[in-house]
Symmetry: C2
């Protein structure tokens, strides 16, 4: 084995001082302190922490660093730390570790943890199974409340929590109900769980999409939801902190995907990885940009005679692109929040066209007026005005139809949608403006 | 009074059928059923519901509709419904009602509710005070655990909850500690709260910003945080469902503000309000677009001789704008998530410049090559290549410096940042491209 078990790097006095302060700090704060250190220094810091604390700190580090730590730390230490993590956090941390290394780690783990984590790793990352934890309290329906309370007392994970979810299952571990907190506090302890439980308990399927689940939490203000498999067996628990992570992740993803980013890039992503992420969509953007250039080239003769037309192009392009982005942003976000249901997009389209017409008239008249005052040529002013108006309507339509179309094709509605919308507004805007200008020139024999 | 107390509109058979189904539905689902009806129909639907159910349904409706309902419903009904709401939801619903109407409603409410809501309405919407609820359980430190349990039993609001937060206060209602669930379940009931409580309880100040609070919840995985005022008096409670709303709201706001939207627009916003929201920033965009046009006009003579240059403008503009938007999106999102701390922006800037250089070389060479192959003019190909490279670096710098600059000025870093960045990339890109082309033309005496 190539592990550097003996190589304990020297710790700088600076770092040593940092480490001494860790005793009184929250794991999250320790994580923020060390997340910008070199890997060896992070390892040196973790070496000074108890297993449970180290587990909490690692959980709070960026996922990229977690992966690198689990690739490089001693196997013995890892097998001490992993069981101290919540199973969902452990599965996340191990999700990107190389298959051979993962195998090595799993083998060293206690059986129960190994099984939980292997289970969780099989579910898609963005499904209920991918975000749920295996830690939950389930009691058999034939137990009495005193036994249910005993189950809580034994459960160390809930030590610090102010929430409790005691689910009731039958002999096959199928979800039957849930015990309310006040049942456990105030009802006769000799009563059976099945006679006290609330039976209309909501649950999600283990393969349900995380975004759907987040919308459920938001809509019904749940603070946790049990997860069941095909046979209604209780397999896990999704809690509100998982959902907060999902909400942030999905919002980041939408924002990034609109401009052709991977959805998972952050400021800490190494620069060469960022280049690799961004280049493909810029290349596609390059193709669409040459389509726009080709449209302009159709009117090269006109521009050759009236170079002033080139000056208007950025105005048409910038305003059309921005108006399109405004509509697009509203639609992409509303789709993500579940605010646009099946057939409602037609109403959204009609509204946005009305908005586009109004903005088009206002901005079109302004563009025309300023152009006329600036260049003293009223014909091109009128042409710019009309092209701007129509372009605003095109922008509105593209802003609605691009994301709705992507969704219909079962693709993420945000995917590079901004690139597509700005291409549409440039193509339509430039074609209209240069086309109308060419017509006007021949009509007025300029 | 101008209320239409007698005018009970006829209910269509269609609606009557809908209403009959409400009995077995969750308030959220009823809200989704009726939120696209006319106001009179919504009122007719609410008339069929018990006060508590009506309160829950109203809470789940879009805020705009809540406002219109409270402006138009009978005062007597409102004064029955409002006390059934959580105080924070009631304050949200009443937040946009006209001052006179608000006065009328408050006067009709029971004293305690009136006071809670008046209190909450005084805090800024995006502060802890603006999102907290007044419903929480606080026991005096001299009480024993049996008395604390009795306080929970009496508290109807917690009826359905699986979470419980019992805070301990002194005689002046200053926050002293919190009781854990397991204290209430398993400790000797004769013990005093002050001897059992956990004393290191985190809290937020009533004027703390909601985005900061959301970051705290995320960082430390809280499920609720008590809110205190200047004298450490416990005044409210922020729960994870409030924070989920904040996360969604802030993400929506950032996405929208980047493209010059109000941050609060949705698909249900009436079209004329959308026009009013979007027009101001489009007008600012109009000014920046004319700045870009002016830069192009500096080279009108060059374009007059070589119209082919106009064809390259959209390529420079689209790619520079998109690269800038990519960097901008990463930075705005990281700022919102608290991932960039005080001095770290320099490191982000250096990284983005490296990314910009790499992308510039790749995209620049491609643009140069395709241009040369397409137009057969290698000089303009080289000029396009160099301009593209430098523009990518400018895009990277603008994408970092615009939001960081806005933040330094204590303005929302997202504010219209996309408009600014695309303006910068257009100005720099066009100036470089047309300037270099002019130099090349005179150097080669084309």
């Amino acid at each position: 084995m190539s592990e550097q078990e003996e190589r304990i790097p020297k710790v700088s006095e600076d770092l040593a001082q940092k480490i001494r302060a860790f005793k009184d700090m929250h794991p999250s704060d320790i994580a923020s302190e060390i997340d910008d250190l070199a890997l060896d220094e992070i390892r040196a810091s973790l070496r000074e922490l108890e297993d449970e604390m180290a587990a909490d700190v690692i959980t709070e580090l960026p996922l990229e660093i977690q992966t690198r730590l689990l690739e490089n730390m001693r196997l013995e230490r890892i097998s001490d730390i992993i069981p101290e993590m919540n199973s969902d956090d452990a599965a996340d941390a191990l999700g990107n570790v190389s298959p051979e290394r993962l195998q090595d780690i799993i083998e060293k783990l206690p059986d129960e943890e190994a099984e939980d984590i292997t289970d969780l790793l099989e579910y898609p990352e963005d499904s209920a199974g991918g975000i749920m934890q295996k830690e939950f309290i389930a009691v058999d329906e034939s137990m009495n409340l005193a036994q249910a309370r005993e189950a809580i007392r034994r459960d160390e994970d809930q030590d610090e929590d102010s929430s409790i979810y005691v689910y009731v299952v039958d002999a096959e571990r199928r979800l039957k109900g849930v015990l309310r907190l006040r049942d456990l506090l105030f009802r006769d302890l000799r009563l059976k769980a099945r006679d006290v439980m609330t039976t209309d308990v909501s649950s999600v399927h283990v393969l349900d999409d995380q975004e759907q689940i987040a919308n459920l939490f938001q809509k019904y203000n749940y603070s946790a939801l049990p997860v069941v498999d095909d046979s209604e067996t209780l397999v896990g628990l999704v809690t509100s902190d998982d959902v907060m992570d999902v909400l942030q992740e999905e919002a980041t993803e939408d924002m990034q995907r609109m401009v052709g980013l991977s959805g998972e890039e952050g400021v800490i992503t190494p620069w060469h990885r960022s280049v690799k992420n961004r280049l493909p969509w810029l290349c596609i953007n390059l193709v669409t940009a040459f389509v726009v250039a080709w449209v302009v080239s159709l009117f090269e003769g006109t521009i050759d005679r009236f170079a002033v037309l080139a000056i208007f192009l950025p105005i048409i392009g910038l305003l059309g692109g921005n108006a399109g982005s405004q509509t697009l942003t509203i639609v992409v976000r509303s789709l993500a929040l579940g605010e646009i249901e099946n057939k409602e997009w037609r109403r959204v389209l009609i509204k946005e066209i009305m908005v586009g017409c109004s903005l088009g008239v206002a901005i079109g008249l302004l563009v025309g007026l300023i152009s006329w005052l600036w260049r003293g040529n009223y014909i091109f002013g009128v042409v710019a005005c009309i092209a701007m108006m129509l372009n605003m309507v095109a922008a509105a339509m593209a802003g609605v139809l691009v994301p709705i179309g992507l969704k219909t094709l079962k693709v993420d509605p945000a995917l590079a949608s901004s690139i597509m919308v700005t291409t549409v507004t440039d193509v339509v805007g430039f074609f209209l403006f240069l086309g109308l200008a060419t017509l006007a020139i021949s009509f007025y024999a300029l």
